[in-house]
C-alpha cells in the first residue's frame, strides 16, 4: 500500500473524526486509556496529520492503536471537532485489512474478539450470550454470578426472563430467519470476509510464532506483557 493516508480518508469515521489537529491535548487530558496505558491519543492524530506513510505504517503495526476504549470522551472536548477515537477506529480497520494487526500483542487480540462476537451474533443474535459465557474467564463477575450461572435457567426465570423462549422478552430465542438475515448481512457487507481475513493473518502469525492457533488465541486473550500499563 502506497497511500495509507488516502486509504484512511475513505473511511467515514475518519472523515468525521479527522480535520486538523492543533495538539492542544484536550483529548489526552480526559482519556481513560492515556491515564493507565503508556498512551497519548493526541500523538496518534498528530502522526496521522503528518501524512507520512512510514509513520502511519508504524502506528498500524503498534500496540498504540489498540489501547483506546472508544468511550469517545475525546470527541466532546476537541476544539477542532476531531474525534481521535473515530480516527483510531479507522486506523484499526486499516490495520486489520492490511494484516498489520498481527504485529502487535494487542492487535493479535483481534482473533479471539472476532471469534467471540461474530459467533455470538451469528449463532444467537446477541453480542454477549450466557451459553458462551465462561465464568472462569470472568472471575470479576463475582461469586454471585457463579451462583447465577450455576442455576442459570432457574435464576433467569426468577428474573422474569424468557430465556431461549419463543416470542418477545429478555434473552428470548431469536428466530432462525432473523439469524439467517444476519448471516446474509455479514456476507454482503464484508463481515464474513473480515472473519476469514483475521483468521488467515492470525494463522500465518501463529505459525511464525510457533504456536497452534488455539494457543495463539488463548495467549492473545489473557497474556499481557508489562510494557503496556504504567509500572
Amino acid at each position: 500500500m502506497d497511500h495509507l493516508f488516502e486509504e484512511l480518508e475513505k473511511d467515514y469515521r475518519f472523515k468525521e473524526g479527522y480535520h486538523t489537529c492543533i495538539n492542544c491535548g484536550t483529548c489526552t487530558a480526559i482519556c481513560p486509556a492515556a491515564e493507565f496505558y503508556r498512551y497519548d491519543p493526541r500523538k496518534i492524530v498528530s502522526i496521522v496529520q503528518t501524512r507520512d506513510d512510514a509513520q502511519i505504517e508504524e502506528l498500524l503495526c503498534s500496540d498504540t492503536i489498540w489501547y483506546c476504549g472508544e468511550c469517545m470522551s475525546c470527541v466532546t472536548r476537541c476544539p477542532r471537532k476531531n474525534g481521535p477515537g473515530m480516527v483510531i477506529m479507522a486506523l484499526r480497520d486499516l490495520s486489520i485489512r492490511l494484516g498489520y494487526f498481527t504485529e502487535s500483542e494487542k492487535g493479535r487480540q483481534m482473533l479471539p474478539l472476532t471469534h467471540t462476537f461474530t459467533r455470538n451474533i451469528l449463532e444467537y443474535g446477541y453480542c454477549v450470550y450466557p451459553a458462551t459465557f465462561d465464568w472462569n474467564d470472568h472471575k470479576e463477575s463475582g461469586p454471585v454470578w457463579k451462583w447465577h450461572m450455576d442455576h442459570l435457567e432457574k435464576s433467569l426465570a426468577r428474573q422474569g426472563a424468557n430465556y431461549q423462549g419463543e416470542g418477545p422478552g429478555v434473552l428470548r430465542k431469536i428466530p432462525q430467519e432473523s439469524l439467517d438475515e444476519l448471516k446474509a448481512i455479514f456476507d454482503v457487507t464484508g463481515a464474513t470476509e473480515r472473519i476469514r481475513l483475521v483468521e488467515d493473518y492470525s494463522r500465518r502469525k501463529a505459525e511464525e510464532m510457533g504456536l497452534s492457533l488455539e494457543e495463539y488465541e488463548r495467549t492473545a486473550f489473557e497474556y499481557s506483557s508489562d510494557k503496556h500499563f504504567n509500572e
Partner: protein, 337 residues
C-alpha cells in the same frame, strides 16, 4: 453649518474617530447603547504593555470630544438610503441625515458559560478575564478567594474553537493572561500561577518581554495544554484536567481560582446594522471590510466606514489607528476626493 457624521458605537474607536472628525471640521454624532462612553476599555483596569490606566485613557479621550453630539443609551432604529447619503433614525426620536456613517460597534466578550466543561456560572471559583479586571478596579467579587494558593488562567476560551463557533484567534488574550498573571502574583505573592495555553501569541511590542518577565521575576508557569475539564472538589476548590503536551502526559491540578480568557466574538448588533444597511458579513461573523489589507476601514456601501473590532479582533492601538484612518477616509469621501 458643519456636516453630520454618524458614529455608531461610543467605544474607543468611536471616540477617537469623533475626535479626529471634530478636528477636521465635522459634526460627529456618537450613538452609544450604554450609559457611558469607552465600551470594553472603560471596564478594564490597566492596559498592556505600559500598564496605563484604562479609565484615564477613556477620560482623556472623553474630554477631547465634549463638542461632539453624544447620545447615550440610544440605539439605531433604521438606516435609510437617501439619494445622497443616509437617514439614520435613532431610538431617542432623533433622525440624522448624513453622507457618511462610521460603524464602530466593537465586539462582544465570548459568553464563557458556553464552554460548559469549564463550569463558568456553575463552579464557585471560575471567573473571566473581564471579571478579574472588574475586581482590579476595586469591585468586590466573592468568587475570588481571600488568599488563593493557586490560580490558573485558561487561554483561548471561545477562541480558536470550532465547537464554540469561533475559529479566530482573539489576539489579545495571551497578552492579557500574562498581564493578569503578573498582576495576580503581585496581589498574591505566595500563589502559584499557571497559564494553560495552546500557543502563546505574543506578537506585539514588548509582549515577549512581559512573557520573560512573568517567567523569570514572577515564576508564572506556562503549561502547554488546553484545559479539557473542570470539576469541583468537596472543599470547593477546582480540579482541572489538561494534557501536559510537552511531556505527553495527562495533568491534574487543584486550583483556588480559575480565570477564563474569554475571547472576542462579533457583536450581534453588528449583524442587525448589516441587515439595515445591507452590509456584507464575513464568515467569522464580523463585518466584512472592503479589503483586508488596504481597505480595512471601508465597507461594501459608499459612505459607510468601519473602525475597530466590528471587523475582527483588534488591540486598542490598532483600533485607535483604524479610527484615525476611518476619519481621514470619511473626510476624503465627503470632499469627493
Amino acid at each position: 453649518m458643519k456636516e453630520n457624521v454618524v458614529i455608531i458605537g461610543g467605544g474607543v474607536a468611536g471616540m477617537e474617530a469623533a475626535r479626529q472628525l471634530l478636528f477636521l471640521g465635522y459634526n460627529p454624532i456618537v450613538v452609544e447603547q450604554q450609559d457611558h462612553l469607552g465600551g470594553h476599555v472603560s471596564q478594564w483596569n490597566r492596559l498592556f504593555p505600559d500598564m496605563a490606566s484604562a479609565q484615564d485613557l477613556v477620560r482623556h479621550m472623553g474630554e477631547e470630544i465634549v463638542d461632539a453630539n453624544i447620545f447615550l443609551e440610544t440605539k439605531v432604529n433604521f438606516i435609510n438610503r437617501l439619494r445622497e447619503g443616509y437617514l439614520v433614525m435613532l431610538s431617542n426620536g432623533v433622525s440624522v441625515a448624513c453622507r457618511a456613517i462610521l460603524i464602530a460597534s466593537g465586539f462582544r466578550l465570548f459568553d464563557a458559560t458556553r464552554k460548559e466543561e469549564y463550569g463558568y456560572g456553575v463552579y464557585d471559583h471560575v471567573i473571566t478575564n473581564a471579571d478579574l479586571e472588574n475586581w482590579f478596579n476595586g469591585n468586590a467579587d466573592s468568587r475570588i478567594p481571600a488568599a488563593p494558593k493557586s490560580v490558573g488562567f485558561v487561554h483561548c476560551v471561545g477562541s480558536r474553537d470550532l465547537k464554540a463557533g469561533n475559529s479566530q484567534c482573539s489576539k489579545v488574550c495571551c497578552m492579557t493572561a500574562v498581564k493578569q498573571a503578573i498582576e495576580m502574583k503581585e496581589h498574591f505573592p505566595d500563589a502559584r500561577i499557571y497559564c494553560f495555553y495552546m500557543d502563546l501569541r505574543l506578537f506585539g511590542k514588548k509582549y515577549e518581554d512581559f512573557y520573560i518577565n512573568a517567567q523569570q521575576e514572577h515564576g508564572v508557569q506556562f503549561i502547554r495544554g488546553r484545559i479539557s475539564e473542570v470539576g469541583e472538589t468537596l472543599d470547593g476548590r477546582l480540579q482541572v484536567k489538561a494534557e501536559d503536551t510537552l511531556s505527553g502526559k495527562p495533568l491534574r491540578a487543584q486550583l483556588d481560582l480559575l480565570v477564563l480568557m474569554a475571547g472576542m466574538v462579533c457583536n450581534p448588533d453588528a449583524a442587525e446594522l448589516a441587515r439595515m444597511a445591507r452590509l456584507e458579513v464575513d464568515s467569522d461573523g464580523f463585518l466584512r471590510s472592503a479589503d483586508n489589507i488596504a481597505g480595512i476601514v471601508g465597507s461594501n456601501r459608499p459612505g459607510i466606514f468601519y473602525a475597530g473590532a466590528c471587523t475582527g479582533t483588534k488591540t486598542v492601538p490598532e483600533t485607535l489607528a483604524e479610527a484615525r484612518s476611518a476619519a481621514l477616509d470619511i473626510h476624503r469621501f465627503i470632499q469627493g476626493k
